[in-house]
């Protein structure tokens, strides 16, 4: 029972973390129209930085070591890493969005992510190559003197609080005039520029926010695993997040939770648990992972709007709080009556 409960809470943790990750991708991709296939690069940067900020400095020795380490408390290392990753994402955006059309950008970003991933495997001077970062401290565990199980329950709660805050922020951004400009850019960036919006600036802003969200997710993943290495962010991982966004419903904040839950429970964590406890068959796990591709295809085919479709904002939504304004408009006066 206790083993199952630990598995369950770990799964909830993953659902929460990937809710955060898909919120960020949804903003950049579905709401701003940038096909950011390098999204997992930001997850990885956030994870590495969270690790480095909370680890002590280990000088390079026998191929193991890290460039720097700040020994910061994990709860602080995480947001700090996310801010730095957000700035990094804005910088990358500023460089690549300057000249490239978004469809070329998609290809270039895939290449950039692959090159950096490959580099991270071979370079041992920065973050120990394939060994990666290990022994990333569990935040609060030392202070509160709790064991790993208790820590998992506690930190799932911490992640949930983060997720709620990030969900509220994303909701506020997407409901705002700024979010409307993002959607205008997604629908037609030429029109957005024509009506006076600085498309480049908004694209960079969107990438920055997306990078922040990706990094929070990455930091949580690294802290839960107490490690981060190239196999933690294999190139295909990003497609899981894309699938969560598609299955959940592009442009829908709650849809992202549904997408993350569906994939983690039915296709990732669930099968892993079943495979290791009952079937003892890694093949099953692999098949479940492969089924994600089928899920994406089925979803696009049968329900392209996703589980929770994007909700359009109605006139009533915009006027809701100012009922007096509704009277200034005569809804019955249509063009037919004017004629």
């Amino acid at each position: 029972m206790s083993a199952f409960f630990l598995f369950f809470m770990t799964m909830v943790f993953y659902v929460i973390v990937f809710w955060i990750a898909s919120l960020g991708l949804d903003l950049v991709w579905s709401r701003t129209g940038i096909p950011l296939f390098a999204y997992y690069l930001y997850v990885a940067v956030g994870a590495y930085l969270t690790g480095l900020f909370s680890l002590p400095h280990v000088p390079l020795q026998n191929g193991v070591g890290n460039l720097f380490g700040f020994n910061l408390p994990g709860l602080l290392a995480l947001p700090l890493a996310a801010v730095v990753t957000g700035l990094f994402a804005m910088f990358v955006g500023a460089v690549f969005m300057r000249r490239l059309r978004t469809d070329y950008l998609a290809v270039v970003m895939v290449a950039v992510a692959l090159v950096i991933w490959d580099f991270s495997q071979n370079d041992i001077t920065l973050v120990s190559g394939n060994t990666g970062l290990t022994n990333i401290p569990l935040p609060l565990a030392g202070v509160l003197h709790i064991n790993i199980n208790q820590w998992t329950y506690l930190y799932t709660g911490v992640a949930f609080v983060w997720a709620l805050a990030l969900w509220w922020i994303m909701k506020t951004v997407s409901n705002s005039p700024t979010g409307r400009v993002f959607r205008a850019i997604r629908d037609d960036s030429v029109v957005a520029a024509t009506i006076g919006k600085n498309v480049y600036r908004y694209q960079i802003l969107s990438m920055g926010i997306g990078g922040f969200y990706a990094a929070i997710a990455g930091g949580f993943l690294a802290q839960l695993a107490t490690s981060w290495n190239p196999s933690s962010w294999a190139p295909f991982e990003v497609f899981n997040v894309f699938t969560m966004v598609i299955v959940g419903g592009v442009g829908s904040n709650l849809g992202m939770l549904v997408g993350a839950a569906l994939l983690q429970v039915l296709f990732i964590q669930g099968p892993t648990y079943v495979a290791s406890n009952y079937l003892h068959s890694p093949t099953f796990e692999t098949l479940a992972a492969a089924a994600i591709g089928v899920l994406m295809w089925l979803s696009l085919w049968f329900r392209p709007q996703g589980a929770v479709p994007e909700r359009l904002k109605s006139t009533a939504w915009y006027l809701g709080r100012e009922p007096a304004l509704q009277e200034t408009i005569n809804p019955d006066l249509t063009v037919e009556e004017r004629a």
Binding site: T172, V173, S176, P177, T178, R180, V181, R183, A184, R186, D187, D188, V190, V191, A192, A193, T194, I195, G196, K197, N198, V199, L205, L312, K313, S314, T315, Y318, L319, R321, E322, L325, T328, I329, N330, P331, L333, T334, V335, E336, R338, A339
Partner: protein, 265 residues
């Protein structure tokens, strides 16, 4: 009326643009006077749409100069030219398809407090208030152009004629000094053509300056104060429609052809 001559709201000087060796615009030079409706006419492929895109910054000119209200905007990016007080519509309507009709207008309004995220979080009250007022203004414009009943529809669901009206509404909410219309009446039924003509005249009477591309010379004669003729990327002539009918170059290059086509109908 002042006795002093006013500078044109818009002028182009020696605009040139070629695409992979095809010269689309080849020295277009003309002025658009204030507070009038100016027609930009010329045969298919004369470079009219390209000229409009060069003025509004969607396409970068190879050379030449564009002045808006006295400011040299040559080489500026589209959004800055727009902010200078210029709006345009597209020959093939470009609606923001995934957004509602109401939002298509709201997003187009100038200087919104909530377009800065700092304000979104630090001054939510001001942003909310501005949004409601903006929605009300957008609804009035939709009502004026007969789109009120479509306010909450996705813009991609609109018909061709409705999209033309949406493009005009979206430009109008920004209250531009100069409005460029690329064939606002193409593919629209005769009753709506009449209406759009009235809308354009109303905008001029409200103080706007307008440059519109139009093939139908009957409409040009009826609603335009001034005409610029473009042929092979060059300004062939400018003046009143009645004067241009006397101009042999113009008749040879364009009018003769169109008049014959009109008779053929």
């Amino acid at each position: 009326m002042t006795t002093q001559p006013t500078t044109p709201i818009l002028s182009t000087r020696e605009l040139r643009k070629s695409f992979l060796g095809v010269t689309a615009v080849n020295g277009a030079t003309f002025d658009v006077p204030r507070n009038l409706i100016t027609a930009l006419i010329g045969p298919n492929g004369a470079g009219k749409t390209t000229v409009v895109s060069l003025i509004s910054g969607q396409i970068k000119a190879d050379s030449g100069q564009v002045t808006i209200d006295g400011a040299d905007v040559s080489g500026w990016p589209a959004h800055r030219i727009s902010q200078q007080g210029l709006m345009r519509t597209f020959q093939l309507s470009r609606e923001l398809g995934g957004m509602t009709v109401l939002e298509n207008l709201m997003v187009s309004a100038r200087r919104q407090t909530g377009e800065n995220l700092v304000n979104v979080f630090l001054r939510p009250g001001a942003v909310k208030k501005e949004e409601a007022a903006l929605a009300a203004r957008a609804l009035e414009i939709l009502n004026r152009y007969g789109l009120y009943h479509l306010r909450d529809s996705r813009a991609q669901a609109l018909s061709g004629g409705q999209k033309k009206l949406l493009e005009i509404s979206r430009a109008v909410i920004a209250d531009p000094k100069i409005l460029l219309l690329d064939e606002p009446m193409a593919g629209v039924n005769p009753a709506l053509i009449e209406k759009i003509g009235e809308y354009i005249i109303d905008l001029r009477d409200g103080g706007m300056s307008i440059l519109m591309i139009e093939h139908n010379l009957g409409i040009v004669e009826k609603i335009c104060d001034n005409v610029v003729v473009l042929a092979e990327g060059r300004t062939l002539a400018t003046g009143k429609m009645s004067e241009l009918r006397e101009n042999e170059d113009v008749v040879r290059a364009y009018l003769g052809e169109v008049i014959n086509a009109d008779n053929g109908r």
